[in-house]
C-alpha cells in the first residue's frame, strides 16, 4: 500500500509509524494515522471513489479540500461524506454510493451512453404520460437517482452541540491574509474568532516551499514554515479563539455566522466580519474533463505534502496563468514527474518561472488547448491542440492550474454583490456591506505581498471599527493593484465536446447549457432552475463562475451582463442534526403534573403543555362527573389579570359583549373577535373588584391573547395594566352533583346555591390556601373552578381528593371533558370554529351587543347580521351506524355542504353526538343530514339529525343547582 507514498516532508500530517485499517466496498485497506479516506485510497492506487449523479460516470479526487462532489462516500452508514477530508479510523466501513453493485464496476453506467435520450430537463418532459404509470416511474427513478441513502432506522446522533460565540471581529479563512487579519485585530485589542476549515492554519502556504512575501513576520520563510509561524502567533494570542476544521456555511444578516465543527453547531455573532476565503483554481472545459486523474493542481500538492501521496507518475500541467507555472514547480519539487506544461497563452512567462519547471523531459506547449482526456475509468493521456495541430500525450495525471478565482459566495450571502472585473476577467466582491470586510485573494488580489498587507489592514480597520475608534471602512482594493504586470486576459472558448462538464455535481455539460438556452432559459437564474447547474452538493463552488462564462459565451453577451446566480446558505453541506442541535423542545407541566403521573394516565400534548387525556375510561370518568363528583386539572387555561380604572371599558372594546356593567363577584362568558369579526378565543371574565378582572382563555392561546390586549392598549392612554398570571395559578374544576359537599369539607366559605349561585366568583381560603373560586359549568354540572397560587397546586389537589374520597371522586381527563361538553353543545374555539367563523353563525349571536357604541369586529358582525346566516354551527346526533371522524363531510346529493367539527360516543346518552357546520337552512331541529364516514370507508355515509338544543340538561338546571 505504500508504493504511491512519497518521501517524508516536514508538513506531513500522517504518522507513518501508526497503521489503521478500513474497508472500502468490502475490500480492506491499510492507511496511516492522519490519512483521510481519500488520501489512503489514493495511496493504495484507487482512482475511482464515486459515481456521478446522472450518468454514473467514474469520479475520483479533484480538489482534496472538500469543495467538489467527486469523492462522496458512505462512512459507517452516513452518506455523502467527503472522503478527501474524512480522517480514517480503524475499522471504519466505507462504501461507494449511487452505484450498483460497486463504484468500481457500476452497471448503471449504461446511462452514460444514453445521454441523447436524457437531455437537460428530461424529467420535466418525459415520464409524464401515461399518467397512471407515474408511480412506476417514480419507484424506478427513486432507486436510480439520488445521493446516498439515509438509514432511516439509524438512531439520531444525540451528541450534537450548540454554542453561541460573541466577538468583536470574526475572521473567516485561515490563510495568510486571514491569520494576519486576526493577529492584527487582536493586537489592536479586539476579541477575535478565527474560523478555518483546515486542521492547520496557513492556507496555501502550508503546502508550499517557495518563500512567503509581504509581511516581515513571514517574508522569506519557506511557505510551510511561514504557515507554522502564523499558527504559532495565533495560538499564543489570548485574544484569538481559533476554530479549526470548522466550516463557515452561512453569513447571515446581523453578522451572524453559521459554523459547523464536528458535531457542534456554532453561531458566531461579530461586530465586524473579515472574509478571507481566498481563491480556488477554476476548472477547465474539455471532453471528459471529469475523468479520475483530472485534478486541481493544489489538490495534487495537498495530497503530496500533507499525506505523502503521489497522485500520478506522469503529470501534464494545464494552465492559463503564471500561477500554473509556480504550481508546476511545486509539484515537481514534491517528487511528481511533470511531462508537459500546456499553457493557453502564446508567450513564455518570466525566466524564473520557466526555470522552476526546467526538468528533463518536460515539454512546454504555448497557445495550446486541451481537447480531451484519454482513458475510460481513469486518465491515460491527454489530447491537446497547438496551432490547429492535435497532439496526444501519455499521462496519468492532468493538473488543472488555471488562474484562481475569488471564493465570494459567503460575501454574496450578506449582500456584497459580486461584480465582474474585466481587467481581471473575474468576479470580485462588489460594494461592501457595513461591518463586512474582504481581505486577500478573495478580493481578486493576486500579488502575494499585497494579499498579506490587505489582511493586516483589514484586521486593524475591523478592530478599530468594532471598538468604536473609527467608522471608516476598509476601502475595496483597487483593481489596478490586483493584476500584476504581464498578466493577460484569459481566453475562454467553448469546446465542441459532447461531454465537457460545467457542473460535475449535476452532470450538466456545455451541450446541456446550449440546449437549455435554446429552449428559452436564457437568463442565468432560469437556466439554473431548469438545468440545476450550481444546485448540487458543492453549492456551485466548482461551477458558479464557469456556468456564467458558458452562459455568456452561448448567449453572446458579456459575463458581467450574465452575472452570477444568487448565493444562498449553506455554503457547505451541514447535517440537519447539527442545525437542529440537541433535543431541546420546551414543554410545560402544571403544578399538579406529578400527581397525575402517579395515576399513570394517557397523556396528550396541547401545544407545549402535557395534559392527562384519560385516567381510566371515558365511561367511568363521565359517570363520576354525572353521578357523583369529578376533578380536572385546568391549570393550562390562560389567565390575565386586568387592573385599573379603565379595565371594564377596555374589555368592552375588545369583546362583542359588555363587562363594564358586570358586578363584582360575578362571572360572564367571553368570546373575542378580530377586526373581521372572526372568533379568536373564548373563556370567562370574573370581576374580582371595582377595578380588577380575572380573564381566562383557552389552553395555548394566552400568548396571542396577551399580545392582542397589549397591542390594543399601546398608546391608548387607558388606565389598564394587564398581567399574564397563567403560571401564577394552578386551577382545578371540581364538578358533579356532589361537588358542593366536597367544597364544604374544604372551606368555611358559604358555597351554597344562594350565597354562591351559578356564574359567581368568590375569593377566600380553600384547604387553607388563598383561592379564587368561580362557579362555572363547562361540562354541564354544578361546578367550582378554583384558582390557587401554583406553589399550593399539588397540595390542594391532594386535599380535594382526600375530602372527596368517600364520595367517589374521580379525576377526569380531556377525553371525558370533551364528551361532557359535547353533551351540552359547548363549543371549543379553534376546534368547532375556524378562521372564517363569526359569532353569529357560531351560535353566539346572543353575545353580540349591537347597542354598544363600538367594539372590535363590530362592523364585520353587523354586515353578517344584515346579510343573514349562510351556515350555522349546530349539534347533531348520529341516527345511523358509526361515529364520524372529526372533519368528515356533511353531504347533500353527494356534495359536501358542511363538516363535522366534533363527534364522540356519549356513554351517558348511549349514542354518538357531535357538532358541525351545516347550511343555515338546515339548522332546524330534526333536520336529517348525511355524513360521510371518512377515510377508508369508500364514501360510505351515515345519517344524523340536527339538534339545536343541548343533549343533556337542556334547561341548565343541573349547573344551576
Amino acid at each position: 500500500m505504500t508504493d504511491r507514498r512519497l518521501p517524508h516532508h516536514p508538513v506531513e500530517e500522517v504518522s507513518r509509524d501508526r497503521e489503521v485499517s478500513f474497508t472500502f466496498d468490502g475490500r480492506r485497506y491499510v492507511a496511516f494515522e492522519g490519512d483521510t479516506v481519500g488520501s489512503a485510497l489514493a495511496a493504495a492506487g484507487a482512482k475511482v471513489m464515486s459515481r456521478s449523479f446522472k450518468y454514473h460516470r467514474p469520479r475520483g479526487l479533484v480538489c482534496c479540500s472538500g469543495r467538489c462532489p467527486n469523492c462522496m462516500v458512505d462512512v459507517d452508514g452516513t452518506p455523502n461524506v467527503r472522503a478527501c477530508i474524512e480522517p480514517v479510523r480503524d475499522g471504519m466501513a466505507v462504501r461507494g454510493q449511487n452505484a450498483w453493485p460497486s463504484v468500481r464496476r457500476d452497471f448503471l453506467s449504461v446511462f452514460d451512453h444514453l445521454d441523447r435520450v436524457l437531455p437537460v430537463g428530461f424529467y420535466y418532459k418525459t415520464f409524464i404520460r401515461p399518467r397512471f404509470l407515474w408511480p412506476v416511474y417514480e419507484h424506478v427513478l427513486r432507486h436510480l437517482a439520488g445521493l446516498g441513502k439515509v438509514d432511516i432506522g439509524s438512531k439520531p446522533d444525540l451528541h450534537q452541540r450548540k454554542r453561541h460565540v460573541h466577538c468583536d471581529v470574526a475572521v473567516i479563512g485561515g490563510g495568510p491574509a486571514g491569520c494576519l487579519a486576526a493577529i492584527e485585530a487582536a493586537a489592536a485589542g479586539a476579541k477575535v474568532v478565527l474560523i478555518d476549515d483546515q486542521s492547520e492554519l496557513g492556507g496555501h502556504l502550508r503546502i508550499r516551499t517557495a518563500p512567503a512575501t509581504g509581511d516581515a513576520r513571514i517574508a522569506g520563510l519557506p511557505g510551510f514554515e511561514a504557515a507554522a509561524k502564523l499558527t504559532a502567533l495565533v495560538r499564543s494570542d489570548r485574544n484569538i479563539e481559533h476554530f479549526a476544521r470548522a466550516t463557515a456555511f452561512g453569513l447571515y444578516e446581523g453578522k451572524l455566522i453559521g459554523v459547523s465543527q464536528g458535531n457542534a453547531m456554532i453561531r458566531v455573532r461579530a461586530l465586524q466580519v473579515i472574509v478571507a476565503t481566498g481563491a480556488e483554481e477554476r476548472p477547465v472545459l474539455f471532453q471528459d474533463n471529469d475523468r479520475p486523474g483530472v485534478m486541481l493542481g493544489s489538490a495534487i500538492l495537498r495530497l503530496a505534502r500533507l499525506y505523502g501521496v503521489k497522485a500520478g507518475d506522469r503529470a501534464v500541467v494545464v494552465t492559463d496563468d503564471d500561477h500554473g507555472w509556480r504550481l508546476a514547480a511545486e509539484i515537481i519539487g514534491a517528487g511528481i514527474n511533470v511531462v508537459a506544461v500546456v499553457d493557453s497563452r502564446n508567450s513564455m512567462p518570466s525566466a524564473d518561472l520557466v526555470q522552476g519547471v526546467d526538468t528533463p523531459g518536460a515539454v512546454t506547449y504555448l497557445g495550446a488547448h486541451v481537447i480531451k482526456a484519454i482513458g475510460r475509468s481513469a486518465v491515460s493521456g491527454i489530447q491537446i491542440s497547438t496551432n490547429a495541430v492535435k497532439r496526444s500525450i501519455k499521462c496519468d495525471l492532468i493538473a488543472i492550474t488555471c488562474r484562481p478565482e475569488p471564493v465570494i459566495s459567503l460575501l454574496a450571502q450578506e449582500g456584497v454583490s459580486p461584480k465582474f472585473d474585466p481587467a481581471l476577467d473575474q468576479f470580485v466582491p462588489g460594494v461592501r456591506t457595513v461591518g463586512i470586510q474582504a481581505a486577500g485573494h478573495v478580493e481578486g488580489v493576486i500579488d502575494e505581498s499585497i494579499v498579506v498587507n490587505r489582511g493586516v489592514a483589514a484586521g486593524r480597520a475591523a478592530a478599530d471599527a468594532a471598538l468604536g475608534r473609527t467608522t471608516v471602512h476598509l476601502a475595496a482594493h483597487q483593481s489596478g493593484l490586483r493584476q500584476p504586470a504581464g498578466q493577460q486576459p484569459i481566453q475562454f472558448d467553448l469546446p465542441p465536446a459532447r461531454k465537457a462538464f460545467v457542473c460535475m455535481c449535476e452532470d450538466v455539460t456545455v451541450k446541456d447549457i446550449k440546449q437549455a438556452i435554446r429552449e428559452g432559459f436564457d437568463n442565468i437564474e432560469t437556466l439554473k432552475r431548469y438545468s440545476t447547474v450550481t444546485m448540487g452538493p458543492c453549492q456551485g463552488k466548482m461551477c458558479h463562475s464557469l456556468s456564467a462564462r458558458v452562459h455568456a459565451a452561448v448567449a453572446g453577451q458579456s459575463v458581467s451582463i450574465t452575472g452570477l446566480t444568487t448565493a444562498r446558505p449553506p455554503f457547505q453541506p451541514v447535517t440537519l442534526a447539527a442545525l437542529a442541535g440537541p433535543h431541546m423542545a420546551p414543554f410545560r407541566q402544571t403544578a399538579i403534573h406529578e400527581r397525575h403521573a402517579k395515576l399513570g394516565p394517557k397523556w396528550m400534548d396541547m401545544g407545549e403543555w402535557k395534559r392527562p387525556l384519560l385516567y381510566t375510561s371515558v365511561e367511568q370518568e363521565c359517570k363520576a362527573v354525572r353521578d357523583a363528583v369529578g376533578i380536572i386539572d385546568v391549570s393550562t387555561l390562560g389567565k390575565l389579570e386586568l387592573r385599573g380604572a379603565g379595565a371594564g371599558a377596555f374589555l368592552d372594546w375588545l369583546h362583542p359583549n359588555r363587562f363594564s356593567d358586570l358586578r363584582a363577584g360575578r362571572v360572564r362568558y367571553r368570546a373575542m373577535c378580530d377586526d373581521a369579526g372572526i372568533v379568536l378565543d373564548d373563556g370567562t371574565v370574573a370581576r374580582l373588584g371595582p377595578d380588577r378582572f380575572l380573564l381566562t382563555t383557552a389552553t395555548g392561546t394566552i400568548e396571542a391573547v396577551e399580545q392582542w390586549f397589549t397591542w390594543w392598549l399601546a398608546g391608548s392612554g387607558r388606565d389598564v395594566q394587564v398581567t399574564n398570571v397563567t403560571s401564577e395559578y394552578a386551577a382545578v374544576n371540581l364538578t358533579g352533583p356532589l361537588s358542593r359537599e366536597v367544597m364544604t369539607r374544604l372551606t368555611r366559605l358559604d358555597v351554597s346555591a344562594k350565597a354562591m349561585p351559578y356564574l359567581s366568583a368568590l375569593e377566600g381560603e380553600v384547604a387553607g390556601v388563598p383561592a379564587i373560586i368561580l362557579r362555572l359549568g363547562f361540562v354541564g354540572e354544578l361546578g367550582y373552578e378554583m384558582h390557587v397560587p401554583a406553589d399550593y397546586g399539588a397540595y390542594l389537589w391532594d386535599a380535594i381528593i382526600e375530602a372527596g374520597h368517600d364520595l367517589g371522586i374521580e379525576p377526569f381527563g380531556i377525553e371525558a371533558q370533551r364528551v361532557l361538553r359535547l353533551e351540552k353543545q359547548h363549543l371549543i374555539v379553534g376546534q368547532d370554529t375556524d378562521a372564517l367563523s363569526n359569532p353569529i353563525e357560531s351560535g353566539l349571536a346572543w353575545l353580540v351587543k349591537a347597542d354598544k357604541p363600538d367594539f372590535i369586529g363590530r362592523d364585520a358582525t353587523a354586515i353578517v347580521a344584515a346579510r343573514g346566516m349562510l351556515n350555522a354551527l349546530v349539534g347533531f346526533e348520529v341516527t345511523g351506524e358509526g361515529v364520524p371522524a372529526e372533519g368528515s363531510a356533511i353531504v347533500r346529493d353527494g356534495h359536501a355542504v358542511g363538516r363535522v367539527t366534533s363527534c364522540k360516543w356519549s356513554p351517558t346518552l348511549k349514542k354518538a353526538i357531535g357538532m358541525g357546520w351545516v347550511p343555515a337552512q338546515d339548522a332546524v331541529e330534526d333536520h336529517g343530514i348525511a355524513i360521510r364516514l371518512g377515510v377508508g370507508t369508500h364514501g360510505k355515509t351515515t345519517s344524523g339529525k340536527v339538534r339545536t338544543k343541548p343533549f343533556y340538561d337542556p334547561e341548565g338546571a343541573r349547573l344551576r343547582m
Binding site: R161, H164, V165, H166, P582, W609, R643, G644
Partner: protein, 225 residues
C-alpha cells in the same frame, strides 16, 4: 351544609421541581416549604459551586410584579430603591428585597418567604402577587459562562453583562428574564423562568452543564456566604 371536616391551615407550599428534588434526596427547608436546603452533601455542593458550577432552585421567594406608567413613583413612595435595567438589593421596613427593575414601567420584587412584600399603590400602577409564577434558578460557579454559551444566543460575557444587569431572552428555547448575579467572586446568573417550564429548564441546564461539572446544589450555598 356539612362542615365537619374542614381541612384548612396545614398547607404545603412546594417548588415546581418538588418531585425532582425528592428523587435527589433533598433535605427540605421546612416540612411545609419544600425547597432544598441541600441534597445530603453540603460540602461537595459548595465545592462544586466554587470550582465548577452549581444549580440552585432558589426559594421560596415571594414575588410581586409591579407595572404600569406609575411604577417608578409608586416604588419611590414605598421607599423601594431600584436601578432601571438592574437587579439590586434593598431593605424596606427591615425586609431584604431584590428589586429587578427591567424597564421603567416594569419591576419584579423578590423577597424571602415570610418576609412581607411592601404595599405598592398609586396611580397607573398595578402590583400583582406572582410568587408562584416564576421559578428562580441560580447558577453559580466558574463554568456558568460556558453553559450559557450553549443555551443562550445573547452575549453574556462579563465585559458585556455586568453584575446585576437584567436581560430578557431565550435560554434553551424558552423566553426568560435573567440577571447576572455573582456570588462573592463567583460568577452567577439567576433565571426567572415561568414555573411550568421549570422542570424542562432544570433538565436542559443539567444536561448541558453536565460536561462542565454542573450539579444540583441546595440553598445553603447562598446562605453560607
Amino acid at each position: 351544609m356539612t362542615t365537619a371536616r374542614v381541612n384548612a391551615g396545614n398547607s404545603v407550599r412546594s417548588s415546581p421541581l418538588d418531585a425532582l428534588h425528592e428523587r435527589l434526596n433533598a433535605r427540605w427547608r421546612a416540612p411545609c416549604l419544600r425547597w432544598p436546603i441541600d441534597y445530603g452533601n453540603p460540602v461537595a455542593e459548595a465545592e462544586a459551586a466554587r470550582s465548577t458550577a452549581g444549580l440552585i432552585d432558589w426559594g421560596p421567594l415571594n414575588k410581586l410584579v409591579v407595572q404600569g406608567k406609575g411604577t417608578s413613583p409608586a416604588l419611590n413612595s414605598a421607599q423601594v430603591q431600584f436601578v432601571i435595567g438592574k437587579a439590586t438589593a434593598c431593605t424596606v421596613g427591615g425586609a431584604m428585597l431584590d428589586v429587578w427593575s427591567d424597564a421603567p414601567d416594569h419591576s419584579i420584587l423578590l423577597s424571602r418567604h415570610g418576609t412581607a412584600l411592601p404595599d405598592i399603590t398609586g396611580q397607573l400602577v398595578s402590583a400583582v402577587d406572582m410568587s408562584s409564577a416564576f421559578t428562580a434558578l441560580r447558577l453559580i460557579g466558574p463554568s456558568v459562562g460556558k453553559i450559557f454559551a450553549e443555551l443562550c444566543p445573547i452575549d453574556l460575557g462579563p465585559d458585556v453583562l455586568h453584575d446585576g444587569q437584567i436581560v430578557h431572552g431565550p435560554v434553551a428555547n424558552v423566553r426568560v428574564t435573567f440577571a447576572r448575579q455573582d456570588l462573592a467572586a463567583l460568577p452567577g446568573f439567576t433565571i426567572l423562568v415561568p414555573r411550568d417550564y421549570a422542570a424542562y429548564m432544570w433538565n436542559a441546564l443539567i444536561h448541558t452543564g453536565d460536561r462542565y461539572g454542573l450539579i444540583p446544589v441546595g440553598n445553603h450555598v447562598l446562605e453560607e456566604r
